[in-house]
């Protein structure tokens, strides 16, 4: 199959790759670009392990074609920390024990990153609804809710300062 040339922004840098038209974004990220932080859990966009931020929205990259990313902007878990400083959502998951096996975590973090921009002062119920596209088999979500609240508080404090 003839390959397509695509260029997009990934975690702040520009990447240029050749992909088949049928290649899924998650496979381009993981296999062509070696960014294995995002995971594949279901291939049907139910579990959210492959969630990436694409043009300012959370998307399940297992059901997006890589060619659709051409000219766009993609953020994955690898791009969350800045100059060695963890993003507040990362800090929150660590502080509140919001992860166990770690497999859902990259998708959770990327979703939480976008969710808190959509709703900077969520209630616990808002968080449960806002994160419901991401499944976790280990934690029972209670500490994930706390982790997102931790990040919300920290983000509000830094932005208010």
């Amino acid at each position: 199959m003839a390959k397509q040339h695509i260029v997009f922004s990934l975690n702040g840098g520009v990447v240029e790759i050749l992909v088949e038209p049928r290649t899924l974004l998650i496979h381009a990220l993981r296999e062509t670009l070696g960014q294995t932080g995002s995971h594949i859990g279901c291939e049907t966009s139910h579990c959210g392990a492959c969630t990436v931020d694409f043009n300012g929205k959370s998307v399940k990259s297992c059901t997006v074609l890589a060619v659709q990313a051409d000219g766009g902007e993609v953020l994955t878990v690898e791009g969350l920390a800045h100059n060695g400083a963890l993003h507040p959502v990362q800090e929150g998951f660590m502080q509140e024990h919001g992860l166990q096996c770690g497999f859902c975590t990259p998708g959770m973090l990327i979703r939480a990153y976008r969710f808190l921009q959509e709703n900077p002062s969520p209630t616990d119920e808002d968080i449960r609804m806002g994160m419901s596209g991401n499944l976790c088999r280990c934690t029972g979500y209670q500490n994930i809710v706390k982790a997102v609240q931790y990040a919300a508080n920290k983000l509000r404090a830094t932005q208010g300062a």
Binding site: G37, T44, C101, G102, P106, R137
Partner: protein, 801 residues
């Protein structure tokens, strides 16, 4: 003398046993630096994909590979014919049976492995799968295990026809696998014949799947020049895999390296050895190149290791005060097309005989018959010790049913039957020796916390208005920490576990353990054990697992065995080091070893303030100044064979409300008290309990691997198989008591599976309780809104005009 403040500060610095320290593994995971099997990318790697049967039962008439092989990039199509010369078309199972690696002349379940396509990338492998042409002649499918032993039932395993044995004892029908009996049948029958009261109930634990978020997979890499095989694999038991691969391949174990890297959840799904692994290994040996095989979610739910499928009939005999006199249980166990369940080898029904539960039942008898059906093989412990969920479910339903018949409160009947604290160690009617427990205290604490009498009053009041409110209680006892080698082995290898610790000259250390974490946080908790035992900060203790080239042989992580067995090995290895350290300290301080006291992180000369050596100082001396005749260095290995199992327990209570028009269930409150003995990291324990309760909620309220009458699987994607999101998942309240295990070096019992084992019956008891006043004795799981709605309509409760 150290002041109390100094003493505490020193202790806190270690972040040892009892400290809710943050996890050491998290910085990697939150920055996308986890390393799971599918992240392994080796130069020249090929990909395998599996051709699967669309039929539940069919003869294979022909397989045509031509079109697939003609596709550029497809390297091979393996079938049973290709594996035959290597004698690898069938493989032994952990249960003494054999399983087809690739279907040999017929398929026995839908999605069974028929061929494996090896190609240059995963897309080409999938293309190749579509091009393999298989012609089938469908056969009648056997789906209902209750008809497996009918005279005219289709014979599933033609390879076993005429054999009266399939690896686990005598069988009486072509579709029969084994019969396992325990207890005193005659004495039990006698009590039932004369008892004041008896109850009898069919109780189902339906077929479910552990469904970890990461599916199963492997990367096999055979180096033809060195003759060495490396396999990265999603395995909860890498050493066992090495032994099995050696037995199958003929390669010496020393030339096989099995690596379980990060594992994205296991829950029992990753204990077994699957055809995909074998195919990838064979292909790698043939091509001399790495071969990756990763399951899709559909393949995961369809083929690798279901759990449960226990069709139980329980009976209790009691006096009129509700004191249980005997238990009788008959189970029909659906094992699918091959007997590949994962239990210790001599235990065809696992530890199901823990079914007398937390109650002092003088006489009992249990019988389990395993049968073949046209369904995927498996029968793993889904977040539980071996068949313990089924056992606890049975007794916890039966005691509720007995209470209902006698009109006794469901909490009260438990108090009347509990094994009393003073009866421990307690020998159960079915042969177990419970190590320690205090059941009444646990239940009492829960009832007080939720104000139980007020809940029952509220329920009575709601019932007068036709509203449905359920209160579920579960007071469970688990049996974990398999296990003593006198009882337990896997293929002849005793179920010990191991730890090797090396303390470096500057006082940091590395520990390697034979278990393997899948999210339980071993890198943190084992370091905490060593920190307390050795007086070195847990921060500088590195824990490694999962690489058979470096870790000592261990049996892996499942059945809550890491803390009871691996944790004990870790504590004992550390104690060996501390004994050596004591001798070095005595030498350095020029006193007898008996004159030294251990205090947190140092040895002190008795009665001589200031005369002391810290473990850090001793570590340095171990490499340059040891007593004459002593070996240099500071390292130790322990292989720990537990003297007994551990018996964690708990008391759970669930309050839920049911919408009598929609059948929707809302869990209002779930209070979980766990007693896992000594607590190593309370933060991690709480996290494990949250997770186990959520998986219990999933099983009780929605999970089902369902089939139609033709054996077609109806629930093999996350569209149809229930995994709760944050929205459905209830909020959890946790509590604890501490009753240490008397035989474990730390008094710890293990915890991660208790919430699953205890949670499922608690939810189902609550749903059943909501209907109990209407004479309902048993509604089987899963309690989906539709199923509950059906019950409501059968009972005529939706009386809207």
């Amino acid at each position: 003398m150290a002041t109390t403040a100094e003493y505490l500060e020193r202790e806190q610095k270690l972040e040892g046993i009892g400290c809710a320290r943050k996890r050491k593994e998290d910085p990697r995971f939150i920055q996308g630096k986890g390393h799971y099997v599918d992240d392994v990318h080796l130069p020249g790697m090929l990909f395998g994909a599996v051709v699967r049967s669309p039929h539940a039962h069919a003869r294979i008439k022909s397989i045509n590979k031509e079109k697939a092989l003609a596709l550029p990039g497809v390297r091979a199509v393996l079938t049973a014919e290709d594996l035959k010369p290597l004698k690898l078309h069938w493989m032994p199972t952990l249960a003494g049976d054999v399983q087809a690696v690739l279907a040999d002349e017929k398929v026995c379940f839908q999605y069974q492995e028929v061929a494996m396509v090896i190609a240059d990338d995963r897309y080409l492998a999938a293309d190749g799968v579509d091009l393999v042409e298989v012609e089938y002649e469908p056969l009648p499918a056997l789906v209902d295990p209750h008809h497996a032993m009918d005279a005219d039932a289709p014979v599933i395993r033609e390879d076993l026809v005429g054999k009266d044995e399939a690896g686990q004892g005598k069988r009486v029908h072509d579709n029969h696998i084994f019969r396992w009996e325990v207890g005193d049948k005659a004495a039990t029958d006698r009590i039932f014949a004369t008892a004041d009261v008896t109850v009898k109930q069919a109780v189902l634990n339906p077929r479910v799947h552990p469904c970890p978020l990461e599916t199963c997979g492997c990367v096999a890499s055979f180096d033809k020049v060195r003759g060495e095989l490396t396999v990265y694999i999603t395995s909860q038991a890498p050493h066992v895999v090495r032994t099995v691969v050696s037995l199958l391949s003929g390669l010496p174990e020393s030339k096989i390296r099995i690596i379980s890297p990060d594992i994205g959840g296991g829950f029992g799904n990753k204990v077994g050895i699957y055809p995909g692994y074998v195919g990838a290994i064979v292909a790698s040996i043939v091509f001399g190149r790495p071969v990756k095989w990763i399951e899709s979610r559909i393949e995961n739910l369809s083929t690798t290791a279901f759990a449960r499928d226990y069709h139980m009939v329980g009976e209790l005999a009691a006096d009129k005060n509700g004191r249980i006199k005997a238990l009788r249980v008959n189970v029909l166990a659906d094992h699918g097309a091959f007997n590949a369940h994962a239990q210790p080898t001599k235990w065809p029904a696992g530890f199901f005989s823990i079914c007398t539960g937390s109650y002092d039942i003088p006489v009992a008898y249990a019988r389990v018959d395993g049968v073949y059906t046209n369904k995927a093989p498996g029968g793993v412990a889904y977040r539980c010790s071996f068949r313990v969920t089924e056992a606890v479910h049975l007794i916890e339903r039966m005691i509720d049913i007995l209470a209902q018949k006698l009109g006794i409160d469901k909490a009260e009947i438990r108090f009347r039957n509990f094994i009393k604290p003073e009866q421990f160690p307690y020998h159960s009617a079915l042969g177990w020796d419970y190590d320690s427990g205090d059941y009444p205290t646990a239940l009492k604490k829960v009832l007080e916390a939720v104000n139980y009498p007020a809940l029952r009053e509220e329920q009575a009041e709601k019932r007068t208005r036709g509203e449905l409110m359920g209160i579920g209680i579960c007071t469970f006892t688990e049996i974990v920490g398999a296990g003593p080698s006198k009882n337990c082995d896997i293929l002849g290898v005793g179920m010990f576990d191991s730890c090797e610790i090396r303390v470096h000259p500057t006082g940091s250390a590395i520990a390697r353990i034979g278990t393997i974490t899948q999210g339980q946080g071993h890198q943190t908790t084992y370091a905490q054990i060593i920190a307390t035992e050795l007086g070195l900060p847990s921060e500088v203790i590195q824990v490694e697992e999962g690489d058979t080239n470096t870790a000592p042989y261990g049996l892996g992580t499942y059945g809550s065995r890491s803390t009871p067995v691996g944790g004990a090995a870790t504590a004992n290895a550390a104690r060996k080091l501390r004994d050596k350290a004591r001798k070095i300290a005595a030498h350095l301080l020029e006193v007898s070893a008996d004159d030294l006291d251990w205090e947190i992180d140092r040895f002190k000369v008795k009665g001589v303030p200031g005369q002391e050596k810290t473990m850090k100082e001793i570590a340095w001396a171990a490499y340059n100044n040891v007593p004459p005749g002593m070996e240099m260095g500071l390292e130790a290995v322990e292989y720990y064979d537990p003297p007994n199992f551990t018996y964690p327990f708990g008391a759970y209570l669930c309050v839920l409300d049911i919408d009598r028009y929609t059948g929707e269930t809302k869990v209002r409150r779930f209070y979980a008290l766990d007693d896992c003995g000594t607590r190593i990291n309370p933060m991690i324990i709480e996290g494990q309990i949250h997770g186990g309760l959520t998986e219990a909620y999933a099983v009780a309220m929605g999970q089902l691997i369902a089939f139609d009458a033709g054996g077609n699987l109806l629930s093999n994607s996350l569209m149809d198989y229930f995994l709760p999101t944050a929205v459905e998942t209830p909020k959890w309240e946790t509590d604890f008591t501490v009753t240490p295990s008397p035989h474990h070096p730390l008094g710890a019992k293990g915890v991660a599976e208790s919430p699953h084992v205890g949670g499922i019956p608690c939810f189902t008891n609550a749903v059943n309780d909501a209907f109990a006043h209407l004479g309902v004795t048993q509604i089987d799981m899963p309690h989906t809104a539709f199923n509950v709605w059906k019950t409501i309509h059968e009972l005529g409760l939706d009386n809207r005009a």
